[in-house]
């Protein structure tokens, strides 16, 4: 049965009921990311879809408050009309996960979904200023607020962001927004191998030019971006945004520096916008639901080493975002979980999350990266403090 409360109070009532009966709930927003993590086995579905609507929007204060079930599209449209945006560029998972429906803003924050700008401008969690949620006891809790700077009490906002509906049912979110940059440009450095590309991206990030996107698209994926319009060879792409005058100065500077690494070309504003959206949405790996897809976060300097090591032993395809620190890795067959996690550890740490895999494969492994014993114990205790009955999304995240 799907429960679809229309108010926060209704949601609290429903959850209190479920808690008293020990009924487990699978929490959904638009359902576009439902394949994320391990499968949830719950008795009922609790949907935020009827908790929808923008509650407050003050463009001059760059803050928006929306109910959790508000479609992302609605928010983005309103922001765009005011030349504003969510700086963390939330990824749209539909194409890559093969799902339909409308992504919701609650889902974005519950999964801490971010895009290419994350490595400089922060993740969804960094823009999230305040939340309202219902905990596993059915109590309505408010955390954070609507101002940028707020250190009043424990930061439950961060804790709930990225907890995938296992700690509480988000009912309302307040987040920071930013002006849309006047223009955007992309510098393409062509034909660099993964290692040189990593060095080039690090060099670019060390320059005072405010690169806001740094991705490397190896030969195997290059043609799957911009309908194959990127220049021949591997493409290392660097994004610059801001005032017209400033971007042109900076792209000169960056281009000059990058010539030391390889041939340099520029995309121009429109193709740039499209390219970074495709990178955000992992375009090369869309529409292949059978192939397991990993999202690996590691130190930028080791992303390509991880891929090189795995490539010797498994069939993989990969490309890099976040200066090399985010590796999107599509497996030909076996998900190679153990090998992958072993290498990540050997390379200094990080984590791999299984974003997509056939149900049978998902059932065999931990979709979220297992934590050390002490941290796992803490996480389990925290879960117990917010959802003592364990009714929210049971099984979704390992150990909690």
């Amino acid at each position: 049965m799907t429960l679809t409360p229309h108010t926060e109070n209704d949601a609290a009532y429903v959850i209190r009921n479920a808690a008293s009966r020990g009924t487990t709930l699978s929490i959904v927003g638009g359902g576009t990311r439902s394949g994320f993590g391990n499968s949830v086995i719950a008795e009922e579905i609790l949907s935020s879809s009827a908790l929808s609507g923008i509650v407050d929007y003050e463009p001059a204060e760059m803050v928006m408050t929306a109910k959790a079930g508000t479609p992302v599209a609605e928010i983005e449209a309103l922001l765009a009309a005011n030349r504003q945006m969510m700086s963390f560029e939330p990824m749209d998972h539909r194409a890559v996960m093969g799902t339909a429906g409308e992504p919701t803003i609650g889902g974005v924050f519950a999964a801490n979904v971010s895009g290419p700008r994350r490595f400089v401008a922060g993740a969804a969690r960094d823009s999230l200023l305040g939340i309202r949620f219902v905990n596993g006891r059915g109590e309505i809790i408010r955390a954070g607020g609507r101002v940028m700077k707020n250190v009043t009490g424990l930061d439950l906002v961060k804790l709930l962001a990225g907890s995938h509906g296992t700690l509480g049912f988000l009912t309302e979110v307040t987040f920071r927004i930013l002006p849309v940059p006047e223009t955007v440009e992309t510098i393409v450095v062509s034909a660099l191998d993964d290692h040189s590309a990593t060095q080039a991206m690090a060099a670019a990030m060390a320059m005072p030019v405010e690169v806001s996107g740094a991705a490397h698209l190896p030969q195997t994926v290059r043609a799957r971006f911009l309908d194959g319009q990127l220049p021949e060879g591997e493409a290392t792409v660097l994004r610059l945004e801001g005032l017209e005058a400033s971007v042109s100065v900076r792209s000169e500077k960056l281009g000059d520096m990058m010539r030391r690494f390889g041939a340099v070309s520029r995309l121009g504003p429109e193709p740039s916008r499209n390219l970074w959206q495709e990178i955000r949405d992992v375009a090369p790996y869309k529409g292949l639901p059978k192939k397991p897809l990993w999202r690996v976060s590691a130190a930028p300097s080791v992303g390509h080493q991880l891929v090189a090591a795995l490539r010797l032993e498994a069939g993989i395809d990969a490309f890099y975002d976040w200066q090399g620190g985010l590796v999107w890795m599509q497996m030909e067959g076996d998900p190679e979980e153990q090998r992958l996690r072993r290498y990540i550890k050997a390379l200094g740490g990080g984590h791999a999350t299984l974003v997509r895999a056939p149900d049978a494969v998902r059932a065999q492994l931990a979709a979220f990266h297992p934590e050390g014993d002490a941290v796992a114990t803490l996480s389990a205790r925290i879960k117990q403090k917010l959802d003592p009955g364990g009714i929210f999304n049971p099984g979704k995240m390992a150990g909690v």
Binding site: E61, R142, D155, P208, V249, L378, S379
Partner: protein, 479 residues
């Protein structure tokens, strides 16, 4: 000394065992790492929130994570409260001890462990000062962005405890947005690592929870922070206005127009006079309010952005616009601003508020603040981070006059409630500490606070870590 804010009653069983505890601590640590003589404990009785003071039972100054773990394990075993301390620069009393507590100071853990330019990270011990991170990475062309005014002295451990901000956070975010990982000792002495050189958490965002937890979840001993390439140039510009209202409206308009400078700082007339007397930075003395707006980037970028800001300021009746002409001048402008609190000490004792309000309410809250302070027969100087609405009214009073002190405290409480009622919060960057603890119910409901305390209990069920702080003493769950 003010007495309005209570501390927890000392645990008699702990106080009674004082001699034994000190003997054990001396066995655990090298001799120079334990302070226990009565006279020597006195300087640890407070931090930069001097209105309140309590002597600790002992002070330990460990040099390694292992020593921190040994102390925590011991204190946990015997139920001895522990109050962590960085440089003791807290403006909310975060490091004020209590009679049954061991102060755990990180001031001997001052090593920069690694600077990694390729990954733009620095890993440092918790006692490293904020500014020395930027100094250490400067030769590589980087800096560490959060810059609390006390950055010369305050430690990164303390910054993490309070989730410190600073003037330049308008563009670069506060500590939590720039922190990648920590090594931390849990209450029972277990050492864990959260995060690292990679981004985001594998599971729950415990790093985000720890940042700003005011030393109540564990003791951070090492931190990995994000570095940013130093801008090509930076230029603070002074904008003088007739009134605070005009300046406040200008701030809202600048932000509203989609321009985000690196910093927008506000000073009212009393603050301008105080800071100018100390720094001789060339602040205009004939204006009612001053904005310091900093832009950065290449010459062309700074010009372009400044032009837009000057246009907006013109619409708000700006009287003087003065660009800094040299790096020395720019440094002086910032020196004056960053020394504002201390420089106020030249003319008066003060308590410093830290409420944040929505930008649209800046002018209103400024006006109300003056009214409140006047009603109590006191004076106020305002100097704060206007770009993000983080206000710092400095209430001037005479600390040697108990009635004056009590009035100042009451006026402060009213101002903070005003901030909350205006849609803001009690504290933007200084932390709740002891100072704002009893106002927490004004911002949060019973359920909100209970939930926070429950999460806190997942780390420290026995209230050993910094126990008198953050959460009102009444209504705490039983251990």
């Amino acid at each position: 000394m003010s007495e309005a804010i209570r501390f927890l009653e000392p645990r008699t069983a702990v106080v009674a065992r004082r001699a034994t505890i000190i003997g054990d601590l001396v066995d655990l640590l090298p001799p120079e790492c334990v302070v226990h003589e009565a006279r020597e404990l006195v300087p640890f009785e407070t931090d930069a929130f001097v209105a309140y003071r309590r002597l600790p039972l002992a002070v330990v100054l460990p040099k390694t994570t292992e020593q921190v773990a040994a102390v925590m394990k011991y204190c946990h075993r015997y139920g001895i409260p522990v109050v962590p301390r960085g440089a003791g620069t807290s403006l909310s009393g975060g490091a004020i001890p209590q009679e049954d507590a061991v102060v755990l100071g990180l001031s001997k853990m001052t090593r920069i462990l690694e600077v990694d330019p390729a990954n733009r990270t620095a890993t440092v011990q918790a006692g490293v000062t904020n500014l020395s991170i930027s100094e250490a990475v400067s030769p590589e062309g980087f800096f560490y962005a959060p810059d609390p005014s006390s950055q010369l002295a305050c430690t990164i451990g303390g910054n993490i405890g309070m989730n410190s901000g600073g003037a330049h956070c308008l563009k670069y975010g506060v500590t939590t947005n720039n922190l990648l990982g920590v090594k931390m000792v849990l209450v029972d002495g277990t050492v864990i690592e959260l995060g690292g050189k990679h981004l985001d958490a594998a599971g729950y965002d415990l790093l985000g929870l720890v940042c700003g937890s005011e030393g109540q979840l564990g003791i951070v001993t090492e931190a990995t922070v994000r570095l940013i390439a130093k801008p090509e140039g930076a230029r603070p510009v002074l904008f003088g206005f007739n009134t605070s209202e005009e300046a406040g409206a200008c701030v809202a308009d600048v932000i509203g127009s989609g321009i985000i400078p690196v910093a927008i700082e506000f000073m009212d007339k009393p603050a301008i006079e105080i800071c100018e007397a100390f720094a001789q930075a060339g602040y205009p003395l004939d204006v009612g309010a001053l904005l310091i707006v900093e832009v950065e980037g290449s010459e062309a970028e700074m010009e372009a952005m400044l032009k837009k800001i000057v246009d907006i300021a013109g619409r708000h009746g700006v009287r003087t616009v003065r660009e800094s002409q040299s790096a020395t001048e720019a440094a002086l402008i910032w020196k004056g601003r960053k020394s504002a609190f201390g420089a106020t000490g030249r003319i008066s004792d003060y308590i410093c508020m830290d409420g944040t309000v929505p930008l649209g309410k800046l002018s209103y809250v400024l006006e109300k603040t003056s009214e409140i302070v006047e009603r109590f027969g006191l004076r106020v100087a305002n100097v704060f981070h206007a770009g993000d609405g983080n206000m710092h009214p400095l209430i001037l009073f005479n600390a040697n006059d108990p009635e004056d002190a009590a009035r100042a405290e009451e006026a402060g409480n009213e101002i903070l409630k005003l901030c909350v009622d205006a849609g803001g919060c009690l504290t933007g960057e200084h932390g709740v500490g002891i100072e704002k603890r009893d106002l927490m119910r004004h911002q949060y409901s019973e359920a909100d606070l209970n939930q926070q305390m429950a999460v806190r209990a997942a780390f420290d069920p026995d209230w050993i870590l910094n126990p008198s702080k953050v959460f009102p003493l009444e209504g705490r769950p039983a251990a």
